[in-house]
């Protein structure tokens, strides 16, 4: 089986563009990236099949038929991608309704985790005085809970 160079290049382009878009912060671009990647994956599956005549008895000799199984799989994958795309679109719309933008705001989440960690450190330090050896306590603005322990 010799794979078509044209399709291979198309797969490469789709993957490259898809990954680039997936790394964006805007949800609609992420969505486009997912769609491109999904189509790239479908092409990979298509490439796995031997090209040939239609897999219908009577329309072609059995030896010349293309392998119909990858096409069935691609159909399934397309349906799944369609559903996911619809859901992501709804999610992006919801996000836009709630915040006025559809950027993925992982910064706030990260910041919150760091803050939580700092606060936990502070409360630990207050719990066990003996272990109090590290952690810069210069920015312990959320340290009110340390006093109870």
């Amino acid at each position: 089986m010799t794979p078509s160079i044209l399709l291979l290049v198309a797969v490469g382009v789709l993957f490259a563009a898809g990954v680039t878009l997936l790394l964006e912060r805007t949800l609609t671009r992420v969505l486009l990236g997912v769609i491109l990647l999904g189509n790239g994956a479908n092409l990979v599956i298509l490439l796995a099949a031997r090209p040939g005549g239609p897999p219908i008895i009577g329309a072609a000799e059995v030896a010349d038929m293309t392998d119909p199984l990858p096409q069935a799989m691609i159909l399934t994958a397309i349906v799944i991608t369609l559903g996911m795309t619809a859901f992501l679109l709804a999610l992006a719309y919801r996000s836009w309704r709630l915040t006025g933008e559809d950027e993925v705001q992982d910064d706030i989440e990260d910041h919150r985790i760091m803050e939580l960690a700092e606060r936990a450190e502070a409360s630990d330090a207050a719990d066990v005085d003996a272990e109090d050896d590290g952690g810069d306590e210069s920015d312990d603005d959320g340290m009110t809970e340390g006093e109870e322990a």
Binding site: V44, S95, V104
Partner: protein, 500 residues
């Protein structure tokens, strides 16, 4: 008795359809959901009993075996089915109780029960799948349902957390799909039993590529360390029952897929060292993240990630003892983590899950104290609980292996065990043991209904019972590992399965 095999997939799907049609009648929805989950559990138990005689195989639609879809219930699949359906039933009861307690009768979220049942169908389908593409479909079914559940209600925090989860899951699905395409291109088959023979003919380099593609996809789903950052970010914001069932099942479906692929398709442990290093990193990084947290749910999410490392360690050893311990530990992990997330949900109803705000729960809510204490110290691996037995099994399997890397991972595993004890001990000290920290404003704490407590108690009892049945269960895990490593029973049962 092979007609039983498709039922764990078919029943929840039909149940989902019925509950979706009955969206105006929450009472019917509840009754149907409970009936479906109870019968799924019963069927799973029957399959478990039958699977000892050899894998049960069903060719769906009567297509001859290598062509059509096969469902296979061998020991591993049946064991996972029993544990997962038991856990989902308890969480379902808990969520029904929560709904009753919160008076959501007036405005029921009609989509909850259908999504929950579809999630169950996806999980069971993934466990029973006999070919890679059906495994992919199982993953997609459960993921699609989980997207709905994790963004339930569509509040701002849930949408944000859900976005991370959805995008990462989509990426792992695409990687899995590409892996499937490549496997098909290399071998011309996706039936796992047929792949066993065909992969032997594939050149080594190509086989390594296929293996790493699949492991990468499953690694994201199982939250293995470098690929685990999404989990603690997205799980804690979802409703308590949703987080509980996600924590119990979704990552373990990934682990199940890793076990299946590593033992059946790519035996010989070529990626064993990679898995061991990933196990070590997952264990240590996860638990270090956990002790830094001050929210109980978030801490549990990190512990969840960390303890996936134990499972990987067992798989990485790729010996019979290692796989057996990993299977046993998976059962323990599913039950205990689900229980703890449910208990965290109960604690949340006292006002908060932030440890610095909680206090004196041992006095104000002694039952809650007991419900937390037992699974938490089970998790930390205190003898005689099942966590101890599982860890002991893993360690002794590691010592049997005897390689320097195995000893390093054992050291990391011991450290993780100690730090887990520290982490849950801290929760115990801060939330339960010390004097009340501050009074919560009126209306912030909500009473828990009796059903919620009953469901949680049932899981706690199940967790303790794992110790009582540890002997038979460990024997079963051992037989499972033997069956997995032998490969021939599975292959023979599947390839001759369509003939009957």
């Amino acid at each position: 008795m092979t007609w039983l095999v498709p039922l764990p997939v078919v029943m929840p799907l039909l149940g989902a359809a019925v509950t979706l049609l009955m969206f105006r009648r929450p009472r019917v929805q509840r009754a149907v959901s409970i009936a479906v989950m109870t019968s799924t559990l019963a069927v799973a138990a029957a399959l478990l009993a039958l699977s000892s005689a050899g894998p049960l195989v069903v060719a769906v639609g009567g297509w001859p075996v290598p062509l059509g879809i096969v469902l296979v219930a061998d020991r591993l699949a049946a064991l996972m089915l029993v544990v997962s359906s038991g856990v989902t039933l308890c969480v379902l009861l808990y969520s029904i109780g929560q709904r009753a307690a919160d008076g959501d009768e007036a405005a029921p979220l009609a989509v909850y029960y259908p999504a929950y049942l579809i999630l169950t169908a996806g999980v069971t389908n993934a466990f029973l799948a006999g070919d890679l593409f059906n495994l992919y479909v199982g993953f997609e079914i459960l993921l699609a349902a989980s997207y709905v559940l994790i963004t339930l209600g569509g509040t701002e925090t849930r949408v944000r957390a859900g976005t991370t989860y959805v995008v990462v899951s989509l990426l792992s699905s695409v990687i899995f799909l590409i892996g499937i395409g490549l496997v098909y291109a290399a071998t011309g088959s996706l039936n796992m039993a047929q792949l066993v023979a065909r992969l032997d003919a594939v050149p080594d380099g190509v086989r390594l590529l296929l293996q790493s593609m699949l492991l990468l996809a499953f690694g994201i789903k199982a939250a293995v360390f470098p690929l685990s950052a999404w989990l603690p970010d997205s799980y804690p914001t979802a409703p308590a029952p949703v987080t509980a069932v996600f924590a119990g099942l979704l990552t373990k479906v990934g682990v199940y897929a890793i076990i299946r692929v590593e033992t059946l398709l790519f035996p010989g442990g070529r990626m064993a060292d990679v898995l061991m290093v990933a196990a070590l990193a997952t264990l240590v990084v996860g638990i270090l993240g956990a002790i830094a947290q001050s929210g109980i749910k978030r801490m549990l999410s990190f512990i969840l990630v960390s303890h996936i490392g134990y499972l990987l360690f067992g798989i990485g050893l790729s010996s019979r003892a290692g796989i057996a311990a990993a299977v046993f530990y998976t059962v323990h992990h599913i039950v205990i983590l689900t229980t703890l997330f449910l208990v965290a949900g109960l604690i949340e109803r006292q006002g908060s899950t932030a440890m610095e705000r909680l206090g004196g729960l041992a006095r104000t809510a002694p039952v809650l104290g007991l419900l937390f204490f037992l699974p938490a110290f089970n998790l930390a691996g205190i003898p005689p609980f099942s966590g101890f037995i599982g860890k002991l099994g893993l360690m002794s399997a590691g010592v049997n292996e005897g390689s320097p890397l195995a000893y390093v991972v054992i050291a990391g595993a011991l450290l993780t065990s100690l730090l887990t004890l520290y982490a849950v001990g801290r929760v115990w000290n801060l939330a339960f043991w010390r004097a009340p920290a501050c009074a919560f404003p009126e209306g912030q704490s909500r009473p828990s209904s009796r059903l919620m407590l009953a469901a949680t108690t049932a899981l706690v009892v199940a967790g303790v019972a794992l110790t009582l049945v540890a002997g038979p269960l460990y024997d079963f895990s051992d037989a499972t590992a033997a069956e997995l490593l032998a490969r021939a029973p599975y292959v023979h049962a599947v390839l001759s399965g369509g003939a009957q």
